[in-house]
């Protein structure tokens, strides 16, 4: 019989446990925590996947209040979308049988994270025919829907679970016979500078001689040449207006989250903070969208190499902040509208822009052949102009206007195109990939259904009118007849 040498199963077990515990502890407290990810996250959340407590607010315990975490980021956009399936629709006790089918009061019922094998479009983890749970009898109400697959409910131009602002019948009816291209094809014109000037008449523009940046690190006379023609000089914002904000107080926060900051006097992450002092509407939007969401959680800025979309290899180290798209000394909105986007994005849709009709129009706008707003840049569609009171500004949260793409109909497409033409275009994935160049089927089945309904409505109205007339006529006959 062989005698044990003192290092048996138990000892190996303890050793392995200690090593594994050490690795896990290192990953949790000093590493990138990737060991703890139970599965690939969705397109919407992958940037923040290592900041676990953004969603797991109470350390993974059963029944944790994750719903609140979802709403802390998404409630505003749901409200803006006029959510057609709000929680209150399901908490009403009369709908408890619907809830038994589908617990629609919690986001995680339909959007389960870390489950790539069951994740479909828009981060939905239910089978595509989930509408069946509650709308199985729809063909009884709408015979036009007889024979439709429940997987097709969410087809572009038909229905959306949350946002149907451009998909309800009366809206389609109101916009049904519009031409492919409208006569008044134009986006709104940004007027922030004019509105600011009207409210600040006492502030005089600054000239090149008045600049105060001579002592700033990396100062170049070129910067002053650029600045003197900029909106900043016109609104009295001198060099120190932005550069003095590099105080220790401001930098300390960024140092925590931005270890790789450049050695330039004006570090990249800081630009968002500085710009927000005057452009908060834009920076707030930026931080709510996919370009800047990490900053809103105090994380390092997004690097292009982290993106899951196709990006240009030369841009991989680029960080996302205001200066990534806007030249800081010469804010040029047109540079930001195409050139900056194309500096990073390398997918078919982006690469086909240059040969598109939209790009040709934008070139004409740049050359002055067309008026401002008549060209179509990347930003025209993905960062649309919004009007609030007198102010027209650029919405920097491009996610608000992205998916499902029917969200773009009202905010973007309908500025220049008829609704049916635009809806049909957005329903054609190949056309989108070609950046809207080439032929496509310019009709959409939803509109034919609406045409049928309009005709039915006209006939019903006519029948009611006729019935009323007959009733009146018969009453008149009775009254006229002296024998009755």
């Amino acid at each position: 019989m062989k005698k044990k040498n003192g290092f048996g199963f138990l000892q190996y077990g303890i050793l392995v446990t200690v090593v594994m515990s050490g690795l896990l502890a290192y990953s949790m407290f000093n590493g990138d925590r990737k060991l703890f990810l139970p599965g690939k996250t969705t397109h919407g959340h992958h940037q923040i996947e290592l900041k676990c407590d953004t969603c797991h607010v109470e350390s993974f315990k059963a029944g944790e209040p994750m719903q609140e975490a979802c709403l802390s980021c998404h409630s505003e956009s749901l409200a803006q979308a006029k959510d057609t399936h709000p929680k209150t629709k399901f908490t009403d006790p009369r709908n408890s049988d619907l809830l038994a089918n589908l617990n629609a009061i919690e986001c995680a019922t339909c959007h389960i994270e870390h489950s790539p094998e069951i994740t479909g479009e828009h981060g939905v983890t239910l089978p595509e025919d989930f509408c069946f749970y509650c709308h199985r009898d729809i063909a009884n109400e709408r015979s036009s829907h007889d024979g439709f697959d429940f997987e097709s409910c969410g087809n572009s131009g038909c229905h959306s679970y949350h946002d149907n602002r451009a998909l309800y019948e009366k809206f389609l009816q109101k916009n049904i016979e519009k031409p492919k291209v409208l006569n008044s094809k134009k986006t709104l014109t940004v007027n922030g500078l004019a509105v600011w000037k009207s409210k600040n008449k006492d502030i005089k523009p600054l000239s090149a001689e008045q600049h105060d940046g001579i002592n700033i690190n990396n100062y170049l006379p070129l910067f002053v040449d650029q600045w003197q023609d900029s909106a900043h000089a016109q609104t009295g914002v001198n060099c120190s207006g932005c550069h003095e904000n590099q105080s220790h107080e401001n930098q300390s926060h960024e140092n925590q989250s931005h270890e790789n900051q450049s050695q330039s006097a004006f570090n990249t992450a800081l630009t968002v903070k500085v710009c927000s002092e005057c452009h908060s509407r834009q920076t707030d939007g930026f931080k709510q969208g996919l370009h800047g969401m990490k900053l809103s959680l105090g994380m390092k800025p997004l690097k292009v190499l982290e993106a899951r979309l196709d990006m240009k290899s030369g841009a991989r180290q680029q960080e996302l902040n205001c200066g990534s798209c806007h030249a800081p000394h010469r804010p040029d909105l047109k540079l930001a509208a195409v050139t900056s986007c194309q500096g990073c994005h390398d997918d078919q849709h982006s690469n086909n822009y240059a040969s598109s009709k939209h790009a040709a129009l934008f070139e004409e706008e740049l050359s002055g052949e067309l008026a401002e707003g008549e060209g179509v840049s990347c930003a025209s569609c993905h960062m649309p102009r919004k009007k609030k009171g007198k102010l027209v500004y650029v919405e920097h949260n491009q996610t608000l206007n992205l998916k499902p793409n029917s969200k773009m109909l009202r905010t973007v497409c309908m500025n220049c195109h008829g609704l049916e033409y635009a809806t049909a275009a957005l329903a054609d994935k190949s056309l989108i990939s070609r950046n809207f160049s080439g032929d496509f089927i310019e009709e959409h089945p939803s509109f034919n259904m609406v045409r049928v309904r309009m005709e039915e409505r006209r006939r019903a109205k006519e029948e009611r009118r006729r019935a009323k007339e007959e009733k009146r006529h018969s009453k008149g006959s009775i009254t006229d007849n002296p024998t009755n």
Binding site: K82, P86, K87, T88, T91, D92, P93, R94, N95, S96, D97, L99, A100, E141, Y168, K170, F171, R453, E456, R457, A460, K461, R464
Partner: protein, 185 residues
């Protein structure tokens, strides 16, 4: 929420003297009081806002898609929006506007008690319907009140709507009912 065994609740009410005063109210009385507020608010809105601005002064219309049309919400929508706000507060009180002839099929009676209640208030236009029901394991006191066609706009819209199962409504008809539920302990 109401204690079902006692069929009464005790409310602590602070009187003007700031002394606590014990008071009792039955689920039925509480339901009637809540309905009185709902019905009064809607009537005031329908007559003093919608009817005045739309029909008398003709400065703005009331439309279903009022945001897109830059119009006023319909009185029935105001009731629904109020119901949603109350539901968000999770107080154990919910209400909904239903009909035997709904334009939107989701607004027809669903539960057995709703069906009985709707039949009762149509057959007995001056009486209210009260009952109890269990839904998803929870007990509720359920009241159903008539919703009467108070203006030409209600009648015309429902009679002209392609999805309306009934097209001969007249002013004064019972068009539907408000179902109000109070959760019982």
């Amino acid at each position: 929420m109401i204690n079902k065994k006692a069929s009464l609740i005790t409310l602590s009410v602070l009187a003007c003297t700031a002394l606590p005063v014990a008071a009792e109210i039955s689920p039925q009385k509480m339901a009637d009081a809540i309905f009185a507020v709902i019905e009064s608010d809607r009537t005031v809105y329908a007559k003093r806002v919608v009817n005045r601005l739309q029909n008398e002064e003709e400065v703005i219309t009331a439309e279903e898609h009022w945001e897109d049309e830059k119009a006023l919400p319909l009185p029935a929508q105001m009731l629904r929006y109020g119901a949603e706000r109350v539901a968000e507060k999770d107080l154990g009180v919910t209400y909904a506007l239903l009909s035997t002839w709904p334009i939107n099929k989701q607004n027809e009676a669903v539960t057995d008690i709703e069906k009985k209640g709707m039949e009762f208030i149509v057959e007995n236009p001056t009486k209210r319907f009260y009952s109890e029901e269990t839904l998803n394991g929870e007990k509720y006191f359920t009241a159903v009140y008539q919703d009467i066609a108070v203006s030409e706009a209600c009648v015309t819209c429902h009679n002209d709507h392609l999805d309306s199962p009934r097209t001969d409504f007249e002013i004064g008809d019972v068009m539907g009912g408000v179902v109000l539920r109070i959760k019982l302990d």
